[in-house]
Symmetry: C2
Amino acid sequence: MSEIFEAPLLNELQRDNTDPLAGPIVVRNAPEQIVERLVTAVALGVYVPGQALPPERELASLLGVSRATVREALRRMTDSGFIEQRRGRNGGSFVLEDWRPSSADLIRRHLMPNWARFEALFDARQLLEPVIAATAALRRNDGDVAALSQALDDYHAATDREESRVADERVHRAIAESTHNSVLVGLSAQIRTRISLDLGAEPYTPEIRRVAAVQHGLLADAVIDQDPERASAIALEHFGLTEKLVRDLVARVQELASLETDE
Amino acid sequence: MSEIFEAPLLNELQRDNTDPLAGPIVVRNAPEQIVERLVTAVALGVYVPGQALPPERELASLLGVSRATVREALRRMTDSGFIEQRRGRNGGSFVLEDWRPSSADLIRRHLMPNWARFEALFDARQLLEPVIAATAALRRNDGDVAALSQALDDYHAATDREESRVADERVHRAIAESTHNSVLVGLSAQIRTRISLDLGAEPYTPEIRRVAAVQHGLLADAVIDQDPERASAIALEHFGLTEKLVRDLVARVQELASLETDE
DNA sequence: GTATATGGTTCGGTCCATAGACCATAAAGA
DNA sequence: TCTTTATGGTCTATGGACCGAACCATATAC
């Protein structure tokens, strides 16, 4: 199952550039890349569980690739328990409701082995996002304000966790896009995708959601009010909260694991 | 010649993430990736003009790839006038002294068509590098200080432009590495590589070099003194200077171009 | 003048992706 | 109920990328 998470989204960003010749060349096959794109799309909420991906023939033409290749990608995703394929007229490739491993499982089998990478990722996010927020506050125009308000409304209107995740993504993307800088937008999206993929089963307790909702509102207000300092400060706090949540969660799971080892 | 600059180093960072399914899948062949790595290595000063790359057989084993593939990559680089291959016992693939197009040529044929991308890149750099500098100042340890001092000494000892470039790269890398965050190190290196590739023929007049040398010294001092505010401010100024230089240069070339059009 | 380290060439094999045709199935629509 | 249609499932033939290994050609070191 979890091999599907190994998508090397940030590899170029983290590859050791000290000696550009170190390390083997890996040719990323078409199917591999297609899996990555589809998984990313789901992680970003473009397709939600229960929904069908576009039909194979359409994917093939969208991605400029043969149907056989698309099928190979979908086969891997089926094998991983990520999607389910159904035949017939209203068939298709459906995102499964519960494709994410349980929190504990995910942490033990995926998060812990790559812990150093996540430390770096969280750390970088907490350093970079405040800059992005501040820049957004300085540069946002009326269109950005409209998009941000809309995203925020959707976020508040969200009822279940899945909707929350999608709306959350849209809020943060709206903020990044207010910087009007494609590098920053891409950077922020990559970090978000990576974290969303790794922590899909983030501990979204109602309590957390309440706090996050308030912070999102404050963050959006700061951007709309063109107050970079406030935006930066709130972003720092907001992403600090997420990080703390994950750390607590990991600590609990680690504790459980050590208990089990004792038995 | 310039097709070798098309290496999509930052593509993942700038690809439109709004719809992950938009755009064709491109399989980055082995030769293509090898060219990118080798060009990167030269851009970062790992190999300087006149120097030979490792022999084909060694490259093949280093990169985990067949010799035929390495040869294909080197053939492309030879075709682009980037390297020269010589046979015989002391033969090899030698980086040419003047593989960079002249400034004017480069700007007209490469920089101008992609101007929006460079705007974004410079802009992002000016936003991100101060954060990196400040973080470096907060986190640097004794080892970092030693590496930074050494790099700075080399920079001051550099005599020609080529040496300057290599030393400049090392100073900035030492600063990025002082953050002890692999994402930041990779990000900074990618931005630097991209800019170095695109602006290899940066206008390094003696005047500029003098100013840059002073700023490098100040920046290093701020990091060594653990003064994040100063580090951040100097970084902002330093990268602002580079940006201004490029803008001036482009403006001049544009003026020339419009004159030529009149004739 | 011989040995050696390098680039230059060739050949057969394997795997990947393409293109296109055709089959199977389930639902929609007449 | 029957036909149509939109989907996934299967097969085959073809071209290309990469590999592995051997061998050739050349220039320098010893």
